[in-house]
C-alpha cells in the first residue's frame, strides 16, 4: 500500500498546469482530492512519475448561479456542494446526490471535477450530471472546448477528455421551477459505491409529465442516461403502469456485472426497485 515514487508539482495557474502536463505526456496526471487516484497509486495500479496538484488554481474554484445556469469549478469539493445554499436552492438534486457519496471524510476532499473526470462507473456524479444535462469545459494546449456529460463517457476509465486536457468547469442548466427530483442509491454501508442508483428529474404540468430525465449509476461500465425510460413517463400521470414501463426501459439498457455487491439478476431487480422509488419521490416533489 505504498505508491511508487513520483514528482510533485503545484502550479498556481492553469497555463502552468497544462504546460507540465504537455511536457510529461502520459507520465503525468493531475490530482484533485486524490480519493480515487491515491488508492490506485497505492495499489500500484496506476504508475506515473508526475503528479500535478490543482489546488492552487483559482480558476477551478467557486460555485456561481446566474442567468439560469450553475457553473461549478472542477476543484469544488463534495462538502462544498452540500453546503452551498445558492446551489441547493437552484438544483437541490446535487445536494441530495452528494450526501450519498462516500462519507464525510471523503467528501471534505473529494471534488466534483475528480468525480466526473475519473470515469469510474461507481462514481455518482457522472449519472447526476447526465440527468441534469451538464456540460464539461475542457482546457487543453489548443484552447477550450465543451463536451456534454451525456457524450463524455466511453467505457470504464475512458472518457472524451484528451490526456493533455484539464476539466475546468461544469455548467448545469437550472431545471424549470417546480421540477421534481430524486437521487436514490442502494449501498451496503456508509462509504460504499452504489449497488444501484438512479437520478430522476420530472416536470409535471396539469397532472401529466411534461418532461423527464433519468440516469443510472454503477449498472454498466458508464453511467446510463435512458431516453427510453424518460419517454415512458412523458405524457403520463406517472402512475404505476408508467413507472413499470420506465423501469422496463431502463433495465433494458443497463448491463451490470456480478461482483461482491451481488449477481446480475439481483442488480437488475434492485435497479428497477431503486428507479421506481426515485421516480415516485421525484413525482411527489414535482409541482
Amino acid at each position: 500500500m505504498i505508491p511508487a515514487g513520483f514528482e510533485y508539482h503545484r502550479p498556481g495557474d492553469i497555463e502552468s498546469a497544462l504546460s507540465i502536463l504537455t511536457q510529461h505526456g502520459d507520465e503525468a496526471r493531475v490530482i484533485a482530492g486524490g480519493h480515487s487516484l491515491i488508492p490506485m497509486m497505492k495499489l500500484r495500479l496506476t504508475d506515473l512519475s508526475h503528479l500535478i496538484d490543482l489546488q492552487d488554481i483559482e480558476l477551478l474554484k467557486g460555485i456561481e448561479v446566474a442567468g439560469g445556469t450553475v457553473t461549478i469549478g472542477a476543484m469544488v469539493t463534495q462538502h462544498q456542494l452540500i453546503n452551498d445554499q445558492g446551489l441547493a436552492d437552484a438544483i437541490p438534486l446535487i445536494r441530495e446526490g452528494s450526501l450519498q457519496i462516500a462519507d464525510p471524510q471523503v467528501r471534505y476532499v473529494g471534488t466534483i471535477g475528480g468525480n466526473v473526470a475519473n470515469g469510474d462507473p461507481g462514481n455518482d456524479m457522472p449519472g447526476l450530471m447526465q440527468c441534469l444535462g451538464a456540460t464539461y469545459e475542457l482546457q487543453g494546449p489548443g484552447g477550450t472546448r465543451e463536451v456534454a456529460a451525456r457524450d463524455f463517457y466511453e467505457a470504464a476509465y475512458f472518457t472524451e477528455r484528451a490526456e493533455d486536457e484539464i476539466l475546468t468547469r461544469i455548467r448545469i442548466p437550472v431545471p424549470a421551477a417546480g421540477t421534481g427530483y430524486a437521487y436514490e442509491k442502494q449501498k451496503r454501508k456508509i462509504g460504499d459505491y452504489a449497488t444501484a442508483a438512479a437520478g430522476v428529474l420530472i416536470r409535471i404540468e396539469g397532472g401529466t409529465c411534461a418532461d423527464a430525465s433519468i440516469a443510472m449509476t454503477n449498472l454498466s461500465d458508464t453511467p446510463v442516461w435512458s431516453v427510453a425510460a424518460a419517454n415512458a413517463l412523458i405524457g403520463t400521470a406517472v402512475d404505476a403502469t408508467a413507472r413499470q414501463a420506465a423501469i422496463a426501459a431502463a433495465i433494458d439498457e443497463i448491463e451490470p456485472v456480478a461482483d461482491n455487491r451481488g449477481p446480475v439478476e439481483f442488480k437488475k431487480h434492485v435497479a428497477g426497485v431503486i428507479l421506481g422509488r426515485a421516480i415516485e419521490r421525484a413525482a411527489s416533489r414535482a409541482g
Partner: protein, 806 residues
C-alpha cells in the same frame, strides 16, 4: 469527613473497587493520541521489512530473482527460504502441531503467502524492492472447497507431508486431511436418532471471516550484538509464549530474549499466532545488526494473517413429539487453509467445539470434526470467542430453530423446556464438560418479559397479514438466542499451548505509602485491564484503585502467563490477582495485629482496614499497615508487602446470556434494519459494569458485521475477493444499531471472586441472534436454513427463492 466518620459504604466507594463503573484509566492516553503502538517505536538506524507475496493460491515457485530489487536505492537484502534453510528457519512450528513455511519453500499454498522478505532503509524503498523482485511461478490446480479437497483425485497440497498415515492429532485418511476429532458417544447417539419421534437435520455453515483489528500485526526486532540480547516488540496477545517459542525456534537462550507487547489496537485472536513477519524480522536484525520493523498493511492483514471460522457443520437433532431433545449429532468439516495454524489448546484440535450442546440438557451427543487443507490462508483463530465456541453456539442455536420449525413450535418455548435447570449445576454435559453454574430459566424469562415477547409475536402476525395483503413489502423477524460459553482456559491438566500450561499470574507490590503496582501475565488489547484488575485489588486489600498501577506485556518484568484471548484474563489472571491480593491481606492482618497489640485472629478486615473484633474504633488502615511493613521490625515477619500468585483454574467458567433482536427486511432490495437488540449477559460477578457494557456493545457490533456482511470470500482460483475495507464489512456508527443491555448475576462457584469473563459473549451470542432474526422473518414462507452473511443480495436471493418477488 475522615477515616473515623465515614460509613463503610462511603469508604468502599472511595476505593472504586469491584462493582464500580470506574472510568477507564487507559482512555486518557488513547483519546489524546498518546498511545504507544508497535508502529510508534522508532529506533536509531532502524530498517524496514516488507514481503513479496504470492499472487497465486497454488503454484510451484521455480525461481526468485532479486537482482533488480537489490539495485533499488536503500534495499539492503532480499531474504528467501534458501537463506533461512541453513538456520532451520524456512519452516516454523504452528500452535496446532503442524508446521508452516516462513518463506515459500518450492511452492505456495495460498494467495498472499510470504515468498521473500525485502529489507531496506525505509518503508518506501522496501516497497519498491518488493515490486522489483521477480518470481517465477508454475500454477497448480487450486482447491478452495474443503469437500473437494477430500476427494480421491484432489491435488496434494502439502507435498512435504505427502502419504503420511498419522498427523499431530491421530490417523489421517487423505493427503489433505489433517485430523478427525471425535467426542461423545457415537453408537448411543445414532441409536437415539434411529428411534426418535422427530429428527431435524441441517447443514449449518459458518463462513470464513477475519478478526480485522484496527491495528494490523507487526513487530520490531532488535538484536544487540554487544549484550547478545534480542528485544522484540510486537502485537502479541501472548508475549510470554512468544518468547518461549522464539527461544525454541531460534536457539537464543530464553533469558536473552525480551518480548514486549506495547499498546495493542485490538487483537480478537488475530494476534495470538506466530507469523513469518516476526521470524524474518528477527533474522534480519541478527544478520544486519540493526533493529528491523515489519508492519503489515490492511490488505496483507486480511489476506494472510489468521482468519476465523469456516466450519461446515452437519447437524441432526432428535426430540420427542412435545419437544424434549433426546440427542444431538454433529459432523463438522473444518477448512483450515494451507497450514494448520489454529490457535487451540493442544488437546483440542477443534477447540471447544464440544460445547455445542449449548444451554440444553441433552442426554446423548456425538461430535466429529475433520480438519482439511485447502488453498486458503491459514488461521482458524478464536475471533473474539473462546476456541470455536462461536461456531458451536451458532450451530446449536440454528439447530434449535430448525427443530422448532419441524415441531411447529415457538422457538422460545422449545428453548425453555430444554434448558439445563438451575438445580442441575454443576452440570455434566454429554460431550464432557462440567458447567460450573447457571440459571437459564430466570435469564430467559427476564429477557422475554423485557422485550414483550408476546407483543412482538402479535405484531409479527399482523405484519405478515399486511405483507400478504400487499400493504407492506417489509417482513419482521425476531431473533432469539440463549448461549452458553466456555471460557477461561484453562486447567493445566488438560489445557496447554505448545506444552505450556494455561495458568496465569499476578504479582503485586505495595509501596510504603500505600500505593501499588501489579503485573500480570496477560496483555490488554482494549479490554481495560489496567482499570478492572486494579478494582479487584482495591476490593481485596482496601487500597484505592486510583493508587494502583497495572503493567503487562514485558516479559522481563511481568510474571509468566499465557496471555489474553478466549476470555481468559478475568477467569484466570483475575483469579491470580485476587489470590495474590489475599496473600498480601493475610500478611497485612498479621502486621495489623502486631500494631494493635492483639492476636492475629482478633482483627478483621473492614473495607480498607483491619479493626479489632468488637472494637471497630481500634483499627489500622491499609495505608498505615503498608508503611509499617517497611519501617517496623516485626518479629517473625519479613519486611515488605508483596506477593505473586500463579493460578491454575480448577475448571472453566461458563458465562451465558439471553439475546433477542428484531429485524425489518425489505424483500425487494434485501436490505435489513435492526430495529432493536436486547442483550442480557450473566458473567458472574461484575467487576466494572461500564466496561462490561462497552465490551457488549463492541462484541455485538462485530457480531452484526459477521452475521450481516463480513466475510473472507475466495473465487474458484483462490483469489481473495474481499481484501479491502470496501468489501470487507467493518461497521461504523452509521450501521450500528442501538443496544439495550441487561444482566443477571450467577457467580462462578470455583472462581475466587465469582467472575466468569464477558468480552466474548456478545460475539458468541450475537451472531446467532442476528442470523436467527433473518431466518425467522422468512419462516412463514418455508425457510429453514440460509447461510450467512445475510448481506443484501443473499437476503434478496432467499426472498426470490421463496417466491416473494412474484
Amino acid at each position: 469527613m475522615n477515616d473515623q466518620t465515614m460509613t463503610p459504604e462511603q469508604r468502599a466507594a472511595n476505593l472504586k473497587g469491584m462493582g464500580s463503573s470506574r472510568k477507564r484509566v487507559e482512555d486518557v492516553r488513547f483519546t489524546q493520541g498518546k498511545g504507544n503502538y508497535v508502529d510508534d517505536i522508532n529506533l536509531d538506524g532502524m530498517l524496514f521489512g516488507d514481503f513479496v507475496r504470492s499472487p497465486y493460491a497454488h503454484a510451484r515457485v521455480t525461481g526468485i530473482d532479486a537482482e533488480e530489487a537489490l539495485k533499488v536505492p536503500g534495499v539492503l537484502a532480499v531474504i528467501t527460504a534458501k537463506d533461512l534453510e541453513p538456520l532451520g528457519l524456512h519452516w516454523m512450528p504452528t500452535l496446532a502441531g503442524d508446521k508452516q513455511m516462513v518463506l515459500a519453500d518450492g511452492k505456495v499454498l495460498f494467495q498472499g503467502q510470504e515468498v521473500a522478505f525485502v529489507v531496506a532503509t525505509d518503508r518506501y524503498a522496501a516497497a519498491d524492492g518488493v515490486e522489483a523482485v521477480e518470481v517465477d511461478y508454475e500454477e497448480l490446480p487450486v482447491v478452495v472447497d474443503p469437500f473437494k479437497a477430500l476427494e480421491p483425485d484432489a491435488p496434494v497440497l502439502r507435498e512435504d507431508i505427502r502419504d503420511r498415515a498419522e498427523g499431530a492429532h491421530g490417523p489421517v485418511r487423505h493427503n489433505n486431511h489433517i485430523f478427525t476429532w471425535e467426542q461423545g458417544d457415537k453408537a448411543a447417539t445414532e441409536a437415539v436418532l434411529a428411534e426418535a419421534d422427530i429428527v431435524a437435520e441441517e447443514m449449518v455453515y459458518y463462513h470464513r471471516t477475519h478478526p480485522c483489528p484496527l491495528e494490523t500485526c507487526g513487530c520490531v526486532a532488535s538484536m544487540d550484538k554487544v549484550t547478545g540480547k534480542l528485544t522484540l516488540w510486537g502485537t502479541f496477545q501472548a508475549p510470554h509464549a512468544v518468547r518461549t517459542v522464539a527461544s525454541l525456534i531460534s536457539g537464543i537462550a530464553e533469558h536473552n530474549i525480551r518480548v514486549i507487547s506495547p499498546d495493542i489496537g485490538g487483537g480478537f485472536g488475530n494476534k495470538v499466532g506466530v507469523y513469518p513477519g516476526y521470524v524474518c524480522s528477527i533474522v534480519a536484525s541478527i544478520v544486519t545488526g540493526k533493529p528491523v520493523k515489519w508492519v503489515e498493511d490492511r490488505m496483507e492483514n486480511l489476506m494472510a494473517t489468521a482468519f476465523a471460522r469456516d466450519y461446515w457443520m452437519q447437524g441432526k437433532i432428535a426430540a420427542t413429539k412435545d419437544g424434549k431433545i433426546t440427542g444431538l449429532w454433529c459432523h463438522t468439516t473444518a477448512d483450515h487453509g494451507g497450514f494448520d495454524a489454529c490457535a487451540d489448546p493442544t488437546k483440542f484440535p477443534a477447540g471447544f467445539m464440544n460445547i455445542c450442546t449449548g444451554s440444553y440438557d441433552i442426554p446423548v451427543a456425538y461430535l466429529a470434526v475433520d480438519g482439511v487443507y485447502t488453498n486458503k490462508a491459514p488461521g482458524g483463530v478464536a475471533y473474539r470467542c473462546s476456541f470455536r465456541v462461536t461456531e458451536a453456539a451458532y450451530f446449536i442455536e440454528r439447530m434449535i430453530e430448525v427443530l422448532a420449525i419441524k415441531l411447529g413450535m415457538d422457538a422460545a418455548e422449545l428453548r425453555r423446556i430444554n434448558f439445563i435447570k438451575a438445580d442441575q449445576f454443576p452440570y455434566q454435559s454429554a460431550l464432557g464438560w462440567e458447567y460450573d453454574s447457571g440459571d437459564y430459566h430466570t435469564a430467559w424469562d427476564k429477557a422475554l418479559k423485557a422485550v414483550d415477547y408476546d407483543g412482538l409475536r402479535a405484531e409479527q402476525v399482523q405484519r405478515l397479514e399486511d405483507f400478504r395483503a400487499g400493504k407492506t413489502r417489509k417482513l419482521m423477524g425476531i431473533g432469539l438466542t440463549h448461549f452458553t460459553e466456555i471460557v477461561g482456559a484453562g486447567p493445566v491438566k488438560n489445557c496447554d499451548i505448545l506444552g505450556l500450561g494455561m495458568f496465569d499470574s499476578c504479582e503485586i507490590r505495595i509501596h510504603p505509602t500505600g500505593s501499588a503496582i501489579a503485573r500480570l501475565g496477560t496483555i490488554s488489547q482494549g479490554q481495560g485491564h489496567a482499570t478492572t484488575f486494579a478494582q479487584i485489588i482495591a476490593s481485596e486489600i482496601g487500597l484505592p484503585a486510583d493508587d494502583i498501577t497495572l503493567e503487562e506485556g514485558d516479559t522481563d518484568t511481568a510474571p509468566y502467563g499465557l496471555g489474553t484471548y478466549g476470555s481468559r484474563s478475568t477467569p484466570v489472571a483475575g483469579a491470580a490477582t485476587a489470590m495474590a491480593a489475599r496473600k498480601i491481606r493475610a500478611k497485612a492482618q498479621m502486621i495489623a495485629a502486631y500494631l494493635l497489640e492483639v492476636h492475629d485472629d482478633d482483627v478483621e478486615f473492614d473495607v480498607d482496614r483491619f479493626a479489632v473484633k468488637g472494637a471497630p474504633e481500634r483499627f489500622k488502615t491499609m495505608k498505615e499497615i503498608a508503611f509499617a511493613a517497611y519501617n517496623q521490625a516485626i518479629p517473625g515477619i519479613e519486611p515488605g508487602l508483596e506477593a505473586v500468585s500463579y493460578y491454575d483454574p480448577p475448571n472453566m467458567t461458563y458465562p451465558f446470556g439471553a439475546y433477542i433482536c428484531v429485524v425489518d427486511i425489505d424483500v425487494d432490495t434485501g436490505e435489513t434494519e435492526i430495529r432493536s437488540f436486547y442483550a442480557l449477559d450473566d458473567c458472574g460477578t461484575r467487576i466494572n459494569p461500564m466496561i462490561i457494557e462497552g465490551q457488549v456493545h463492541g462484541g455485538l457490533t462485530e457480531a452484526l458485521a459477521i452475521a450481516m456482511g463480513q466475510e473472507i470470500a475466495y473465487d474458484e482460483m483462490g483469489n481473495v475477493k474481499t481484501g479491502t475495507l470496501m468489501d470487507f464489512f467493518l461497521p461504523t456508527s452509521w450501521e450500528t444499531p442501538h443496544y439495550t443491555t441487561d444482566h443477571t448475576t450467577t457467580p462462578s462457584p470455583h472462581h475466587p471472586i465469582g467472575a466468569k469473563g464477558v468480552g466474548e459473549s456478545p460475539n458468541v451470542g450475537g451472531v446467532p441472534c442476528f442470523s436467527n432474526a433473518v431466518h425467522d422473518a422468512f419462516r412463514p414462507f418455508g425457510l429453514t436454513q440460509s447461510h450467512m452473511p445475510h448481506d443484501h443480495w443473499r437476503v434478496w436471493k432467499t426472498a426470490n427463492r421463496l417466491g416473494l418477488h412474484n
